[in-house]
């Protein structure tokens, strides 16, 4: 087989070998249920609390503010439904943005059906939420602002500190979906006035199916998963001990070389952007030119369609992603690309390349070279070019 270049780290990441090594003994050696009082159970309990400490430290939270969930989606569902339910008597209005992940948007739609009112803020052409519109949208019955920390498609980082300040001044709870941001920038929940924050392990070289919700002490939040007394009676279900341990380890590894890690990825990203810009015409970089995730590259290539692009790249061993409808089975292209004002046919021709620190300059150059070929081939086939 030929070369393999994985550049879809926003979709998911490879679980690091050190993470696997840490997890492995929790499968058939230390396999006790953390709720059990015997030695084997207490060992599991200690392991999950160690992971909890690592996760808490990473975002400057306290240990008892971290609750493990089954992933970013559950964290988002819990935060929104839990706040909505618990604060019903205060109001029923929620503010979010048009470019949130579906885990937020579809939960909002569900809440609308339950009688809540949701304002979807616009974003500018770089994907930044409109702060003026946010301020104007706040009403007496607003109970929650939920704005993602950084966007999964175009990488744009939101002015979270500003939003946190507004929310705090108005006494409104502030949740942020930081699933994509956690690996890409330093987050301090205290400094940023964040009340709730969603995370997911598989985006930072941890295992799939584990995440966390940070809940600031004193936040009114109903349970989402009802049952046993796990997670201080806040999130029921036998803990996925091995996954939690893996999540903790992934965070520890990230913490260790954070600045180095970001610097390396940023360099690769900029090389990739330059390479594409220098070699392919009729393109557009999507997302914010500066305030973007270190690992995110998103281009639209006029005249061609994303799925074809992905499939041709796949033949060259390159894994990437697109905002084209055809990759999702729907007809409309990504709501994010629409929200930043792209025309349909341009949005269909988008490509997302997301890096990790396992990528190399050589891989970046290989991708540029193959991309030139593939875009050319598809433009030859296209009836739009000409």
């Amino acid at each position: 087989m030929g070369k393999k270049v994985y550049m879809d780290n926003a979709a998911t990441t490879q679980t690091k070998q050190e993470v696997i090594n840490e997890m492995i003994k929790y499968f058939n050696e230390m396999y006790g249920n953390p709720s059990s009082i015997y030695d084997l159970g207490r060992t599991s309990k200690r392991a999950i609390n160690k992971a909890r400490t690592s996760v808490a430290k990473f975002i400057n939270a306290d240990e008892d503010e971290i609750y493990f969930t089954s992933g970013g989606t559950e964290s988002d569902n819990w935060a929104l439904k839990g706040v909505a339910n618990a604060n019903k008597s205060k109001g029923n209005h929620i503010i979010t943005s048009k470019i949130e992940h579906h885990a937020i948007l579809h939960t909002c739609e569900y809440l609308e059906k339950q009688g809540y009112e949701v304002t979807y803020l616009d974003v500018d052409e770089n994907g930044v939420v409109n702060i003026e519109q946010l301020k104007e949208s706040i009403k007496d019955n607003t109970i929650l602002i939920t704005i993602m920390f950084a966007n999964n498609e175009i990488g744009t980082i939101q002015p979270i500190k500003e939003i946190g300040k507004i929310a705090k001044e108005k006494g409104i709870l502030f949740h942020t979906d930081a699933v994509q941001a956690v690996g890409g920038l330093r987050i301090d929940v205290k400094d940023l006035n964040i009340d709730l924050l969603s995370m997911s392990a598989h985006k930072i070289n941890g295992p799939k199916g584990i995440g966390a919700l940070y809940v600031k002490k004193g936040t009114k939040l109903d349970n989402f998963m009802h049952g046993g007394a796990q997670e201080s009676k806040k999130r029921a279900g036998t803990e996925s001990v091995q996954n939690i341990v893996g999540f903790g380890k992934a965070v520890e590894i990230l913490e260790e070389n954070f600045d180095e890690h970001i610097e390396k990825i940023t360099k690769l990203r900029d090389r990739l952007i330059k390479g594409i810009k220098d070699n392919i015409a009729d393109i557009k970089l999507n997302g914010h030119p500066v305030n973007r995730l270190a690992n995110n590259v998103n281009f639209s290539f006029n005249y061609i369609e994303g799925e074809s692009l992905l499939l041709y790249l796949d033949m060259e061993g390159i894994s990437a992603s697109s905002g084209s409808a055809c990759t999702s089975g729907s007809l409309d292209p990504s709501h994010v690309l629409m929200a930043i004002g792209l025309k349909h046919e341009i949005a269909h021709g988008s490509l997302r390349l997301t890096l990790s620190d396992s990528n190399t300059e050589e891989e970046v150059d290989y991708v540029v070279q193959k991309l030139v070929d593939v875009v050319n081939r598809l433009r030859v086939i296209s009836p739009l070019k000409g």
């Binding site: 005249y303 061609i304 369609e305 994303g306 799925e307 074809s308 499939l311 033949m315 084209s324 409808a325 055809c326 990759t327 089975g329 007809l331 292209p333 025309k343 349909h344 046919e345 269909h348 030859v380 086939i381 296209s382 009836p383 739009l384």
Partner: protein, 140 residues
């Protein structure tokens, strides 16, 4: 996801290109939905001597175009009119459910080019009486 046949036609699409002095040209689909197919035909004595296509669209759109042009190349106009999307799907060894509309698009593109040829030459082609070249095949 895709059959080997689909991938083969996608990898090496047959009949890509334009025909400058085409006798019939059909273009269907729209950029909004992410797929546009344009088919060019050279027709002599009621026989499709040459056919070429250009497609903006996903893998199955490109494969469907390629297969459709293969299926009608060298055929008579009357035979070509009878090309169904089902025949395209079958020739491709199947398409995922959500991609079946690509084969419909291919059928429409062929019909559209034949319609254009008929219009230009004042011919009545059996099977094209009800054809509306501006119809949208997507159920939005």
């Amino acid at each position: 996801m895709y059959t080997e046949k689909v991938m083969e036609h996608f990898r090496n699409p047959r009949n890509v290109g334009e025909i400058k002095d085409a006798d019939g040209i059909g273009m269907v689909g729209n950029a909004k939905c992410g797929d546009i197919m344009k088919i060019y035909m050279k027709i002599n004595n009621g026989i499709i001597d040459d056919v070429k296509f250009q497609t903006f669209g996903c893998g199955s759109a490109i494969a469907s175009s390629s297969m459709a042009t293969e299926l009608i190349k060298g055929k008579s106009v009357d035979e070509a009119v009878e090309l169904t999307n089902k025949a395209v799907v079958e020739a491709l060894g199947g398409l995922p459910k959500v991609k079946v509309h690509c084969s419909v698009l291919a059928e429409q593109a062929v019909k559209s080019a034949l319609y254009d040829y008929a219009q230009k030459n004042n011919l009545v082609v059996k099977g094209l009486e009800d054809f509306n070249p501006d119809e949208d095949v997507h159920e939005h």
